[in-house]
Assembly symmetry: C2
Homo-oligomer: 149 residues x 2
């Protein structure tokens, strides 16, 4: 049974996030694609124009599945405090790799992370999240699962 996550719940959760996040940041990075809509709503809320994306893709490596490659790493030379956002922290591998990659490239920046959902079993937790994910989630930004299709 999938859980359908609709935009009303998303707006309420995004509002909760803005109340929880006690961190001043100048840049938002969405882990694409999942974090894009959240980055949009937070960028509008905080009136931050530096809303970037960073992209990941899984690939096979000698039959070891679930390796992740990062691309489209944004130029952060004019940034100092960054909030990384995603829709869900699942295994935590993607967030960990994004954080490791960005810290290595920009050791003088501060990176914090926020998501709507996180799983208890994730290898890393974001600094802020709203809901624990216990089942598969169909997000409203997937047209194919839109109930009124």
């Amino acid at each position: 049974m999938n859980y359908y996550y609709d935009y009303k719940e998303f707006i309420l959760d995004a509002k909760k996030l803005t109340k929880d996040i006690d961190y001043e940041f100048d840049t938002i990075i969405a882990i694409a694609r999942g974090g894009l809509t959240l980055s949009h709503i937070l960028g509008e809320h905080y009136n931050i124009r530096k809303v970037y994306s960073i992209n990941t893709i899984g690939y096979d490596n000698n039959q070891k599945l679930n390796n992740i490659k990062i691309f489209n790493i944004p130029d952060l030379k004019d940034s100092k405090n960054i909030l990384i956002v995603d829709d869900i922290i699942d295994s935590g591998d993607t967030l960990k790799l994004v954080l490791d990659t960005l810290y290595e490239k920009y050791p003088n920046c501060t990176f914090k992370s926020a998501s709507i959902f996180s799983k208890k079993t994730a290898s890393i937790q974001p600094d802020w999240y709203i809901q624990e994910a216990k089942e598969w989630i169909d997000f409203f930004w997937s047209i194919s699962t839109y109930p009124k299709d």
Copy 2:
């Protein structure tokens, strides 16, 4: 009187866009922030992982207002056909500058553009859009205008 554009209308308009767009593309670029949510939903629909953002900011230049600066130009060396998306084409100046900038940097790529809204008075029209904008639009991704605040 502002027009409130909610997510239900957005989902329907995004679906219409996917029916109208007769163009095969490998990359989506959101003009941030306005195009971010649309880029997310289209990226999911077409299963495209190369969803990037490009950013603009207005600045003053010798008292001539409304100059636009572009930053965070994505690396398109692995892209060929690109769809640029925004929520609304207003004056058209931003889209024009984005197109000019990207064509100059990547003359061998093809760029097409899509938006939800466009204004008749815009200096340039996107290749595809759904609605004509006749008044100020409050988009659902602005928490502050969420009706059930």
